[in-house]
Amino acid sequence: MAEEAIKLGGKRKSVFIDKVKKLLPEGGNLNLCLTCGTCSAGCPATGLEGMDPRKFLRMAALGLDEEVINTPWIWMCTMCYRCVYACPMKIDIPALVYAARASWPREKRPKGLVGSCDMALRNMSHSAMGTPPEDFTFVVEDVLEEYRETQPEFKDMEAPIDKKGAHFFLNQNSREPVTEPDEMVPLWKILHIVGADWTYASKGWAAENYCMFLADDDSWKKIIETSVDAAKELGCKVFLNTE
């Protein structure tokens, strides 16, 4: 950002922050900032790219739309909501960040996010690793069998997929079935010991959603819909989001 003076005061134009406010309940309280710094003190992305949430919101409030939209910092926000949680005015800064992301042409957005989102859309697993449903099913059954055999105390353990009428619908981070399949097991064991009635689904089982981080609303929605439909179809009562 240039160090020269910022000129303000001309005829009021429609600015970015006003557009975002219209999209949010209570306008996301975006105008209410007390510039107290609570958000920035708790933000893991503070200081990156010379930016922090307070500065970002201040620039938006002063109508510095170009700087607000173009800062690469917006892609460093983890959407953790620590800022909103502690903000005395409960200002929805992540929503502003999200809107800034959404204003970028898709192809200009960070390659890693675009690639992961695109990969998820390749099949009905919606896994960022691209794992198709049949591969997921195979890995789960294979790992389960191994543990039943080698650990007799878990010989009755189950890891059902598409079990109709199960109480819990469980999703699963995509990385584990591919790179660290054993990492899935501890949770299965817990569920087994407490006697939970649960299931994975073969469709929409992937828990992560890079399309959301990419601010690709349509694809985000599509992925969510697949999971929700799967849970409904199986008649599950509770959706357990593990991500």
């Binding site: 003076a5 005829k11 209410l32």
Partner: protein
């Protein structure tokens, strides 16, 4: 209080009195019961940091100082009939387990609700870790830690390990200015000041090494002398002020009780600091109990639970005849609460003026026979005070010793000399033995001298023939471990008192005739309100106004911050004043001379060339103040630069100006909070925000910039700050060393102003092009040095009238009969001026309604034979109670003005001729005591 039935002027109030299980008439507060009580209970007064017993007094200063049994914890009540230790050991037989709850029906004309506040409980606010981190405490807990009567006897230590902390942090706005569930949107008004006070006192307690840091958003110290305190704390005491709100508090590390705070510095850098103790500056709120009470009584509350009041009738609740004061109507500090208390009493007095004195009974005394005073016949009564004195001092020995002293003709010892039956015994002894002087050797004259004076008066003696020997507070209590020496000292004290008693003289009461008229100086809102409250009680009141019309600064208030119509209020007020048959308004009138004293003032006033004298009993100063005309920011040079109400008046007269404007700016603190004028003008933030909201509502696409140093919308005014931000007003904070720069400029051929100011977050300059600039300039005193001198009342460094005591006597002066209210006292918003005006009226009425003023007759007397007229006494008297008068043929001689004299004795000490003596404390009386003291 259970219910209020009936109407204003005629209420029946139902009150439920819980049993105390202690007979109030018998309890002497010796504390033996609590010592013996085996049941320990968490001490609420010490915020749970200490224990008390099941029989206790809530705190050492409790009035009345009487014990109470907490039946929820008492063993007798828990295990029916067991224990009874207190009953067994009580020396006064005061325990009464049979007491029952009582319902009282009380007939009253009005009710005042002063139910106070509850401190916000931060337990549910997880980011600060209160409840889970032992060294995160509330400000109330810290108050107790600092207190000598607190859990650590005033030693500064922290809860986790009782170690003295080296670094303490205060976090402001905990539970206030916060939209989280359970928190409050309003500002709690008092926390900034109490946090500074706690930091300063903590540093005093700890010595030089303690580090204190206050984390805040806006420093809100708008009250009288508050900013000076803030400046001193920062610049002299070394309290650190960090403008940043803390995200969360975490343990500093495994096994440590220290706390880590990560915060964003003002210049945008992430900082980390370790503290040993963190104090949460919790806000004020209305408890559920009070909300329920209000509902039961039919009192309307606002959405925060405070009593709904109007700015124009700030102590009236929604129910006629029921008034409110203190934190029940909004968060506020002690001075404002005390003023509201007086204001509420004024409101009651006006309502009930017709029935004044209809229920009073006058006490009569037997007549005094002067002949009996000739030869001293002294009676000495020595008190055991249960075991308070008797357990240490050999009381019978002291009694027998007293009998050997000169002039003593009667002695007795009593278990409790203050008990009603002993009072009877004293009266009988006076009559039977023809006693004409009485000495009581007992607790302390501080609490009991008036009682014994009354007793001998009932026995037919002048009350000044009484002398007190303090053998409890100053003997038995301080020499508990040396009973023999304590007995000797008691004898010494009795001998001294007897020596003085022999020389005591009867002193006649000083009754001064009293005028019932009031003079109010100043015809603004404060002056008119004060005058009306007096006149409505039937007291004739003069309003003396310099200008040609009534109204003062109130005429600029188009709307109050709550949105009420200021002009309609003022028009109505002026109408009521002008139509009132007890008010005489003197316009274009100046005061040229004032003489006299409380109850008897004579003031010379000049209207044009005509002069007249007004006779009146009191004076209320309501002379107002005025806004500064600044010589900066192009004021007076460019017509687009205005101040206070000028911009809204322009937009009212020429609405097209607002239509055509693209941007408007306000600059706050113009001339306030600067080295030359180090005080805050208190209501400028509120005023600018009100205008900004008004403009923005009428023209939403108008750019508005408010350049400020701290936004000080204290109390419920915070709502305006939130609303202004919501509407898109941009707030830019500047500092005193980098003030905004205003220049003339033109944009596209249109004349504009260019304001250059650094953005406080981005750290880069902003250039604001605006059509108009409005300056919130300092409210300054009118320059009333002459009037102050005439009345012998002081002004503070800033030229505002200086009251007798900031907190306890906020509308009085040390000089009786003169009161102050409104802007003359300090800048304040209209509703606070009205409160103060009513308070001044209440204080004034308490003088005016009396037929005569009874003055303490222990005043100075001048021996004019010895006096050389040097005038040292007049110069040294702080009350203007002694002055030189011309005595024909002898030059000047000093004369005492008894009505003003407080009996302090400074004049007597100053007199080089020993021509002045103090009644009841004459040199020879005191010499006799001293001589007797050395005679052992």
């Amino acid at each position: 209080m259970e219910s209020i039935e009936g109407d204003a002027g005629n209420f029946t109030v139902t009150v439920r009195e819980r049993p105390r299980y202690v007979d109030m008439d018998k309890c002497i507060a010796c504390g033996i019961c609590a010592e013996r009580c085996p049941r320990k209970v968490k001490d609420e007064y010490n915020q749970g940091l200490a224990k008390r017993k099941a029989i206790y007094v809530q705190y050492p200063q409790a009035v009345p100082l009487k014990y109470v049994i907490d039946a929820d914890h008492c063993i007798y009540f828990k295990k029916k009939g067991r224990c009874r230790a207190c009953e067994k050991y009580c020396p006064a037989d005061a325990i009464d387990f049979t007491q029952k709850e009582k319902i009282h029906k009380i007939q009253v004309g009005s009710v005042v609700l002063s139910t106070g506040f509850k401190s916000f409980d931060p337990s549910g606010y997880d980011v600060f870790g209160y409840g889970s981190l032992p060294n995160v405490i509330t400000s109330m807990e810290f108050e107790r830690i600092l207190s000598a009567s607190g859990p650590f006897q005033g030693h500064l230590q922290r809860p986790s390990d009782d170690k003295p902390p080296q670094k303490i942090a205060w976090l402001q706005c905990v539970g206030s200015r916060d939209l989280h569930a359970g928190c409050h949107e309003y500002c709690s008004s008092v926390c900034c000041m109490y946090a500074i006070k706690e930091a300063v006192i903590a540093k005093e307690h700890a010595g030089g090494d303690l580090d204190t840091a206050i984390f805040f958003m806006d420093m809100r110290t708008p009250g009288k002398e508050f900013d000076k305190y803030y400046d001193r704390a920062r610049d002299e005491v070394g309290v650190r002020f960090i403008r940043s709100r803390v995200h969360s508090i975490e343990l500093a590390g495994h096994g440590s009780d220290d706390l880590r705070i990560i915060y964003m510095s003002e210049d945008g850098k992430l900082k980390k600091e370790i503290f040993n103790l963190v104090v949460l500056s919790t806000g004020l709120e209305i408890s559920e109990d009070v909300r329920k009470l209000a509902q039961d009584l039919g009192i309307e509350l606002d959405l925060h639970g405070f009593a709904k009041t109007s700015s124009f009738t700030p102590v009236a609740t929604s129910r006629p005849g029921v008034f409110a004061c203190g934190a029940f109507t909004g968060p506020k500090d002690i001075p404002q609460s005390v003023m509201e208390a007086s204001a509420a009493s004024s409101a009651c007095a006006v309502l009930l003026a017709d029935s004044r004195n209809t229920l009073t009974q006058e006490k009569t005394y037997p007549s005094e026979d002067p002949i009996i005073y000739e030869e001293p016949r002294i009676g000495v009564f020595v008190c055991h005070c249960g075991i308070n004195i008797g357990g240490v001092v050999d009381v019978p020995a002291v009694r027998d010793y007293a009998e050997t002293l000169p002039n003593v003709v009667y002695v007795a010892d009593n278990m409790f000399t203050c008990s009603q039956d002993t009072q009877g015994l004293i009266r009988d002894a006076v009559k039977e033995n023809r006693l004409n002087r009485v000495v009581v050797a007992a607790c302390t004259p501080r609490t009991h001298e008036p009682l014994f004076q009354e007793t001998i008066r009932d026995g037919g003696l002048n009350p000044y023939l009484f002398e007190f020997a303090n053998i409890r507070d100053q003997d038995a209590w301080v020499h508990q471990k040396e009973p023999e020496k304590a007995t000797e000292k008691a004898k010494d004290l009795v001998r001294m008192s007897v020596a003085k008693a022999a020389l005591l003289e009867p002193i006649e009461p000083l009754l001064l005739g009293n005028r019932h008229e009031a003079m109010v100086v100043g015809g603004g809102a404060a002056g008119m309100i004060a005058a009306l409250d007096l006149a409505d009680q039937g007291l004739k009141t003069f309003i003396v106004e310099q200008k040609g019309k009534l109204g003062g600064n109130a005429k600029y208030v188009r709307k109050t911050w709550k949105g009420e119509d200021g002009r309609a209020f003022l028009a109505d007020l002026i109408g009521r004043v002008q139509g009132h048959k007890q008010i005489e308004v003197l316009l274009d009138t100046k005061i040229s001379h004032v003489s006299g004293f409380v109850g008897n003032f004579t003031t010379t006033v000049t209207t044009g060339s005509a002069e007249q004298e007004l006779e009146h009993g009191i004076i209320i100063l309501a002379v107002g103040a005025k806004p500064l005309k600044p010589d900066e920011y192009l004021y007076g040079q460019n017509e687009r630069v205005m101040r206070w109400h000028e911009l809204e008046e322009l937009f009212e007269k020429e609405p097209e100006r607002l239509e055509q404007a693209e941007a408007v700016a306000f600059i706050q603190c113009v001339g306030s909070r600067e080295p030359e004028r180090p005080y805050c003008s208190k209501f400028c933030c509120t005023s600018s925000l009100q205008q900004a909201i008004d403009f923005k509502t009428r023209k939403p696409d108008l750019n508005i910039y408010i350049l400020y140093r701290d936004i000080r919308t204290y109390g419920q005014r915070e709502e305006l700050y939130r609303k202004a931000r919501e509407l898109g007003v941009i707030f830019i904070r500047y500092s005193l060393d980098k003030k905004p720069v205003v220049e003339e400029t033109s944009v596209d051929g249109k004349d504009k102003l260019k304001i250059t100011v650094k953005d406080h977050i981005l750290g880069i300059p902003l250039e604001l092009h605006v059509d108009y600039l409005n300056l919130a300039t300092a409210i300054i005193a009118r320059g009333e040095e002459e009037l102050a001198k005439m009345l012998k009342v002081p002004l503070n460094e800033d030229g505002f009238f200086l009251e007798a005591h900031m907190k306890l006597r906020p509308v009085d002066f040390a000089t009786d009969g003169i009161f102050v209210c409104g802007l003359a006292h300090y800048p304040k918003p209209l509703e606070e001026s009205i409160v103060q005006a009513k308070a001044a009226a209440a204080r004034a009425a308490s003088v005016l309604i009396k037929e005569s003023v009874e003055v303490e007759p222990t005043v100075s007397v001048v021996d004019q034979e010895k006096c050389i007229g040097c005038g040292l006494c007049e110069a040294s008297c702080p009350f203007g109670a002694i002055h030189l008068v011309k005595v024909p043929g002898r030059g000047y001689r000093a004369e005492n003005i008894s009505a003003l004299c407080k009996g302090c004795g400074i004049c007597a000490a100053a007199c080089p001729q020993k021509a002045i003596d103090m009644k009841h404390f004459r040199d020879r009386q005191i010499h006799a005591m001293i001589e007797a003291g050395g005679r052992r």
